[in-house]
């Protein structure tokens, strides 16, 4: 843990770190627009097959669909996760706290594939089951981290805020949430990154996204397709993950002077 925090404070001082997500994004954009130019490179993987560039659907469309699914799931999970995390740490919802926190930790043992597989019989094929599976699976890290973040806020600080005459709502908005923000953000980061990877599995249940080239490649034994899909998903995951990393560092840097 100490290793990480030390690294974080060092890094927040060097401004070029902010460029990392931009570099990944640029690479992603180049890969999406210029995949056809790389035909010679992909020819190396599969010298014999007729087409080496996945062309059934345009890559930018696949990327758009992938992002759409992940974004909708993220929107719902963040809203629901934060709301339930806040609700069960309030006085009125405290009865539900043990159950929700146990569920959030037990839910981690459910593999995303199994959740996806169980969503299909209920919801049928297509984009809907993958969105629901992503929501269910993405909810847990956010709830867990919201709970941890809010519970770790020092009781003394909350009492001091109350003594200053703040209402419960003000304490939540101006004290608890800002102090819990880095931990909550870490949960959101985990959730979204996992979901970008898991969304690719949607291709197996008929949702068209960046998993398509991978599945098509595995089915037809065309490694070039697999590489293209994997490359784009990897770049997307890295872009989003490094963006979140920068946001987290910003939050930590904001908070550190207050702690000292």
């Amino acid at each position: 843990m100490t290793v990480n925090t030390r690294a974080a404070t060092q890094a927040s001082r060097s401004p070029w770190q902010i460029g990392i997500p931009l570099v990944w994004l640029l690479l992603l954009w180049l890969a999406v627009t210029g995949m056809a130019q790389l035909e010679g490179f992909f020819r190396l993987f599969e010298p014999d097959v007729r087409s080496v560039i996945y062309s059934r659907v345009d890559f930018s469309l696949l990327l758009g669909r992938h992002l759409f699914v992940v974004a909708i799931a993220a929107l719902v999970t963040i809203t629901l996760g934060l709301a339930s995390g806040i609700a069960v740490t309030r006085k009125k919802g405290r009865d539900f706290l043990p159950l929700v926190s146990q569920l959030a930790s037990m839910g981690q043992t459910f593999p995303p594939v199994a959740v996806l597989a169980l969503a299909v019989p209920v919801l049928g094929f297509g984009t809907l089951p993958i969105i629901v599976a992503l929501m269910l699976y993405g909810l847990l890290p956010i709830v867990r981290n919201t709970l941890t973040g809010l519970q770790e806020v020092d009781v003394g600080i909350k009492e001091a805020a109350r003594a200053m005459g703040m209402t419960s709502g003000q304490i939540l908005r101006q004290v608890e949430l800002p102090m819990a923000a880095p931990v909550i953000m870490a949960g959101i980061r985990t959730s979204v990154t996992i979901n970008i990877a898991t969304a690719a599995l949607g291709a197996t249940v008929g949702a068209s996204n960046l998993g398509d080239p991978i599945i098509a490649g595995i089915v037809n034994g065309n490694t070039a397709y697999v590489v293209q899909g994997a490359l784009l998903i990897g770049l997307l995951a890295l872009s989003v993950d490094s963006t979140f990393e920068q946001v987290q560092r910003r939050l930590k840097a904001d908070e550190s002077p207050r702690n000292k």
Binding site: P98, M106, P112, A117, I196, I214, T223, V227
Partner: protein, 403 residues
């Protein structure tokens, strides 16, 4: 608390109504699902989708009445659960929940005999949404009751075990027409084969990454400069989507098999267990190394000093003091890795590595939902059991022993 108890109680209000809202909500949902959603469905064969039946037609009025009485009792007890005079309400609810869980396979048997036409050899009984929701809600209630009664982990598992056995007995002996069992019987050999493959892959991956992870963690302690880079690489590996990593390993391993006769003779190829194992180990390394490293690092320096003071040499200090003290946290790493590997092995079925994922993806491909369930349910079970077992072991090894 004590001050509040000493306060005079207001007369005239419902003094007995001090509910446990969680259990009240859960049992109300159970009641709603029991009556409002389909208990079971019947299909004449595998392809046709079934017709659903509500509880009255599935279980008859006797079955519906029994279920209703038990769930209403749950609702009643949860209304008085927090009341001082009825301290045993939680225990009574535990008994009722266990009874309901134990009765559920018999409910399926009743539904089978009432609904499935014995003249049709292929007719199958599907488990309906109402049944699943009731089961899920009852399990949630069990979790809540466990917290309220402060039951130790061992206790709750020893309560669940006989019920699990009962389910297994009913499923294997009398529930032949259940769709899940029909799927199982038509491929029981594949099922045990898949189970074996799944276990082997997970076991090997966890074993290899345990060795590698320990080695890496020790190296990182020896060379502190490498820590940052090593963690950066391991973190990077975790961000690559599993499906992509499996796919990416196809090419290099296929090349190895084609160009190295030794690799080919070992059974390494672009598809199958080899890429699956490599990917699983790659994913398992981060939690394993992180936990081993933190575990070894966090042993208090005072304890180490004391050990040296007693005249132990470096080797003894490591083997007899540092390692045993670090063991619970390291086992936590093994637990996380195992659960994660059980899930990832499912995806590995896409590249021909076998395991329960085969059923999931074949079932998805054929739109045979019972087959998907036949793959997904064992995975969930395996993950939960692995989680519980390894959690119990690390509880036991923690200084102070089991709770």
């Amino acid at each position: 608390m004590s001050l509040k108890d000493a306060m005079p109680v207001e007369k005239g209000r419902l003094s007995w109504f001090s509910p446990n809202w969680v259990l009240l909500l859960l049992s109300t949902i159970a009641l709603g699902a029991f009556f409002g959603l389909e208990t079971a469905s019947v299909a004449p064969n595998r392809i046709v989708s079934g017709t659903g039946y509500l509880v009255f037609s599935a279980l008859g009025w006797q079955g519906a009445l029994l279920g209703m009485v038990l769930i209403l009792a749950l609702i009643g007890f949860s209304c008085i659960a927090e009341c001082q005079e009825y301290r045993d309400a939680y225990k009574a609810m535990l008994v009722i929940v266990m009874a309901l869980l134990a009765l559920m396979p018999f409910a399926l048997m009743v539904a089978t005999s009432r609904l499935v036409d014995s003249d049709l050899p292929q007719a199958r009984l599907g488990i309906g949404a109402g049944f699943w929701v009731t089961l899920f809600v009852l399990l949630l209630a069990l979790v809540e009751l466990r917290t309220r009664l402060a039951l130790a982990r061992i206790w709750s598992w020893s309560l669940l075990l006989p019920i699990g056995l009962l389910w297994w007995l009913c499923l294997s002996l009398w529930l032949e027409p259940l769709a899940l069992m029909r799927e199982y019987h038509s491929r029981s050999e594949q099922f045990s084969e898949a189970f074996r493959q799944h276990l082997e892959l997970v076991g090997t991956a966890v074993g290899v990454s345990l060795m590698l992870g320990m080695g890496l963690a020790l190296l990182m302690r020896r060379y502190p400069r490498s820590q940052k880079a090593a963690f950066a690489i391991l973190n990077f590996l975790q961000t690559i989507p599993s499906l992509a990593l499996f796919g990416l390993l196809l090419a290099p391993l296929a090349w190895l098999a084609a160009n190295l006769p030794l690799a080919a003779s070992l059974g390494i190829s672009g598809i199958g267990w080899a890429p699956a194992l490599v990917a699983l180990v790659a994913y398992s390394l981060l939690p394993m190394v992180r936990n081993t490293f933190i575990a070894l690092e966090e042993v208090s320096p005072a304890v180490i000093d004391a050990a040296y003071g007693m005249g132990m040499d470096t080797r003894q200090v490591f083997l007899q003091v540092r390692l045993p003290l670090a063991l619970p946290v390291m086992l936590e790493g093994v637990r996380i890795t195992t659960v994660q590997a059980i899930g990832l092995t499912t995806v590995a079925a896409l590249i021909g590595a076998g395991g329960f994922g085969t059923f999931v993806f074949q079932g998805l491909g054929q739109a045979a939902m019972d087959m998907v369930l036949l793959g997904a349910l064992p995975i969930l079970l395996m993950a939960s059991v692995a989680d519980a077992l390894l959690g119990a072991v690390s509880d036991f090894l923690r200084p102070g022993g089991a709770k």
